[in-house]
């Protein structure tokens, strides 16, 4: 006996089946909720070592440095420069700028010097949407200095910005 499904029911089944199929695809891929970065507390007693730890946290959180932009210890076709060893080579990147001045300029005015081979695109991280405070930027600089160099920035350091 031939089973005949009425046309309206076929349409309903098609709509429900297609919707269920696409929804199922949405369930099987990795699920990730993207929450705002948690606040990072910086107090006046923090040492340079403390700032390095805070800077590392900021780099992968509120600062968004490591969220799809920079990498640490990767090679090949990269979107933006790999940060491995940046603490060591910062002083030699731009003539006349110390490592601290270079790193501060890269964060406050990233368009002034673009590493050869890469495109301009980074936003000033003291402005929205990233909007790091001056103390938070010092923490990020301390972390950058720790990547192949010796951190010396403190909360009293004048970055010139």
């Amino acid at each position: 006996m031939k089973l005949s499904v009425p046309m309206p029911l076929r349409l309903v089944l098609l709509v429900l089946g297609t919707t269920a199929f696409y929804m199922y695809l949405g369930q099987i891929v990795p699920q990730k909720e993207s929450h705002p970065p948690p606040p990072v507390l910086i107090n006046a007693e923090m040492t340079t070592e403390d700032l390095v730890a805070v800077g590392a946290e900021l780099a992968s959180g509120k600062g968004q440095c490591l969220v799809g932009c920079h990498t640490v210890g990767q090679s090949g076709p990269l979107r933006y420069p790999d940060l491995d060893g940046i603490g060591g080579r910062a002083a030699t990147q731009v003539d006349g700028l110390s490592d601290l001045e270079y790193l501060a300029q890269s964060l406050y005015e990233p368009a002034v010097f673009i590493v050869p081979g890469f495109a301009d695109g980074m936003q000033a991280i003291n402005q929205p949407p990233i909007n790091l405070s001056d103390d938070e930027i010092k923490a990020v600089i301390a972390w950058l200095q720790s990547l192949g160099g010796t951190p010396n920035v403190t909360l009293d350091t004048d970055l010139g910005y």
Binding site: Y22, G26, Q27, V29, V67
Partner: protein, 643 residues
């Protein structure tokens, strides 16, 4: 007969429901607590006004509520919530439904006008009829659009009062023009629809033209509001160093600096372009779904032929608009990148990267569905067998491109699998997950679909052009060159830095676009006045093709819903990116799984409502009610069944 029984059943059910409701209400009123009559009489006699305990309790509760309300100071709410569903999901679903109907209402007049114009130029009445058939869908859809627009506005004012107030602060000067345009759109739409056959053709075409102009202007204004939330400003080289600087339309505190910059913001025009094209593709697919619905309902060959043709035209419109859509999408994405690298990276490499795998499945299905429909359509024409040998190669190309596009860069793997692969990406397959491979796949998909369309166009026709061999070879060379160029840049992209690789998308896109234009320009004279080797038999197509049309419309709707999630979710915890933070409990981007659940609900509601639109539109073609005729019809049907 069955229909009459169903209608009778519904009537009986409604009657019984009313009786039950009245009886239930009566029962509750009868059983409500009442003070005993003798006690009331005694109190009246004594002149006492003493309350029984229940009355006293109610009075105390009311007094306490009033005292509490008086003691509470007025506070302006920042957010309000909707129980169970939540504010975000409420606004999300309403906005999406408004947008889907609005897209349809904006798109249909566009191609109805073009079809009417073609009919006017060619002096063929069938085009006029077809345009009218499309326009029939508009009036109910327009009401739906307005209803959901009002719902959305109320929901925003109630649930997000502070943020809505902020948007009003920025855009209040645009509201009056918007309302006036909306009024004009209603005027032009209804005069276009009801004036069919009542005005001269030029006047009627003018009404259609104005309807499109006004509709597009309305969309442009609404686009300014939503794109401002993503890019509240423009980029301009203000310091003359050759590098565009960000010029915010608002101050750091959010105060308006320039309405012009807020309106003509950075992503406004890319969204305008993307939406016009996407609306036409979506509108075409929904109109084709309507034709499919009518085809499946059709009782006569004549009806089937008419709705088969309508479905073909609707699908043709959808696919022709769909082919350049990835380019418009690329332009929009590139502009988002140019506005903010953070937004761009978030879109393609961050939270939403997996969404594009799902998008690939949707677009792949759209291409497969569209090609399948075209291949089935070859059966309408005698002589179609000649081209069917090419279909398997096209199918292989489409399936391969689909597979490449759907390959994620990072695989979903267990710990042992990650260890075996040496990372979360597969050592070989992850190459297919990169942008170079995906750009190549989508361009080849577009070329393949266009090739399907060309084969369809040639089915049952033979060119009589004196240079037909030369021109056909020229087309083949253009096609092969474009494909080769796309593949060359796709492979070369693996050997250059990211900045160069991103720029390779441009020659890929241009070569495909150029190929489409050149091949079309050659094809028009090549097949002008072509010899017909067989007649096109509209209506001679398997019924499954009509389900394919509905599947295409479903996939388009899904795609719109999913892309709405990305566009809005990109802002993450910002209402207005970089200016107004979202401080509500919903200040996070939900997972893709959750988003697909919301999109599912939206799609189901939309298809439920569009089913009502289809049904109402189909009523206009039915005969007027006449009691005698209904009895006669019933008698004939029964007689026929008996025979």
């Amino acid at each position: 007969m069955t229909r009459n029984r169903i209608l009778f059943g519904i009537g009986v059910l409604a009657f019984v429901s009313v009786i039950v409701t009245v009886r239930l209400g009566g029962f509750l009123v009868d059983n409500e607590y009442r003070q005993p009559d003798r006690q009331v009489a005694a109190q009246e006699e004594l002149g006492e006004a003493e309350l029984v305990p229940r009355q006293q309790g109610i009075a105390d509760e009311q007094a306490a509520d009033e005292a509490e309300a008086r003691a509470r100071p007025y506070e302006e709410a920042e957010y309000r919530t909707v129980p169970f569903v939540g504010s975000r999901v409420t606004v999300w679903v309403l906005a999406q439904l408004h947008l889907l109907f609005a897209a349809f209402v904006l798109a249909v007049p566009l191609f109805a006008f073009i079809i009417e114009f073609v009919g006017y130029v060619k002096k063929e009445e069938r085009y006029n009829k077809l345009a009218y058939e499309f326009t029939k869908l508009l009036s109910v859809s327009f009401s739906m659009t307005a209803t959901f627009g009002a719902f959305l506005t109320f929901a925003l004012i109630i649930l997000y009062p502070k943020f809505t107030n902020y948007l009003m602060h920025i855009f209040s000067p645009t509201f009056l023009p918007y309302v006036l345009l909306f009024f004009l759109e209603a005027l032009f739409l209804y005069s276009y629809y009801y004036g069919w056959g009542k005005f001269g053709p030029k006047m009627h075409l003018f009404l259609g033209f104005m309807l499109n102009i006004v509709g597009t202007a309305i969309m442009f204004i609404a686009n300014a509001w939503l794109t401002f939330m993503m890019s509240p400003g423009k980029r301009d080289d203000i310091d003359g160093d050759g590098v565009p600087d960000f010029v915010s339309a608002v101050s750091e505190s959010g105060a308006l600096l320039s309405l012009r910059d807020a309106f003509f913001n950075f992503t406004w025009m890319p969204i305008n372009i993307h939406r016009i094209i996407a609306n036409v593709a979506f509108g075409g697919s929904i109109a084709a779904a309507y034709a499919a619905f009518r085809y499946l309902q059709a009782k006569s060959d004549e009806e089937r032929a008419h709705f088969d043709w309508m479905g073909y035209v609707g699908n043709f419109v959808a696919i022709i608009a769909f082919l350049p859509l990835p380019f418009a999408g690329y332009y929009l994405a590139a502009e988002i990148y140019a506005f903010s690298q953070t937004l761009g990276i978030q879109m393609m490499g961050g939270t939403f990267s997996w969404l594009f795998v799902l998008q690939a499945a949707l677009i792949g299905n759209l291409f497969l569905g569209a090609n399948y429909y075209l291949w089935l359509g070859m059966g309408r024409m005698e002589g179609g067998v000649h081209f069917q040998k090419f279909i398997k190669w096209l199918l292989i190309a489409i399936a391969l491109c689909f597979a490449v596009w759907a390959t994620p860069r990072y695989a979903i793997s267990s710990v042992s699998e990650i260890a075996a692969m040496g990372g979360s990406s597969h050592p070989q397959l992850s190459y297919l997950g990169q942008m170079s491979a995906k750009n190549t796949a989508v361009n080849i998909l577009i070329l393949s679909t266009y090739m399907s369309f060309l084969l369809y166009r040639r089915t049952g026709r033979q060119s009589i052009h004196p240079h037909r061999q030369l021109l056909t070879r020229a087309q083949a060379i253009v096609f092969s060159s474009a494909a080769a160029l796309v593949i060359f840049y796709g492979v070369y992209g693996y050997f250059v830095d990211s900045a160069t690789r991103i720029r390779f998308a441009i020659p890929q896109v241009y070569s495909v676009l150029a190929a489409l234009v050149v091949i079309t320009v050659i094809d028009l004279p090549l097949y002008r006045n072509a010899a017909q080797s067989g007649e096109t038999k509209w209506g001679r197509i398997p019924a499954v093709s009509q389900y394919a049309l509905i599947f295409i419309a479903l996939s388009f709707t899904w795609l719109m819903g999913l892309m709405g999630y990305v566009r809005s979710g990109l802002r993450q915890e910002w209402h207005v990116y970089g200016v107004i933070l979202d401080t509500s409990p919903d200040a996070y981007t939900p997972s893709l799984g959750f988003a697909t659940q919301v999109v599912s609900v939206t799609v189901l509601i939309f298809f439920g409502l569009i089913g009502v639109v289809f049904w109402l539109s189909s009523l206009s073609g039915k005969k007027d009610y006449a009691p005698g005729a209904a009895a006669e019809d019933g008698g004939r049907l029964e007689g026929g069944q008996t025979a």
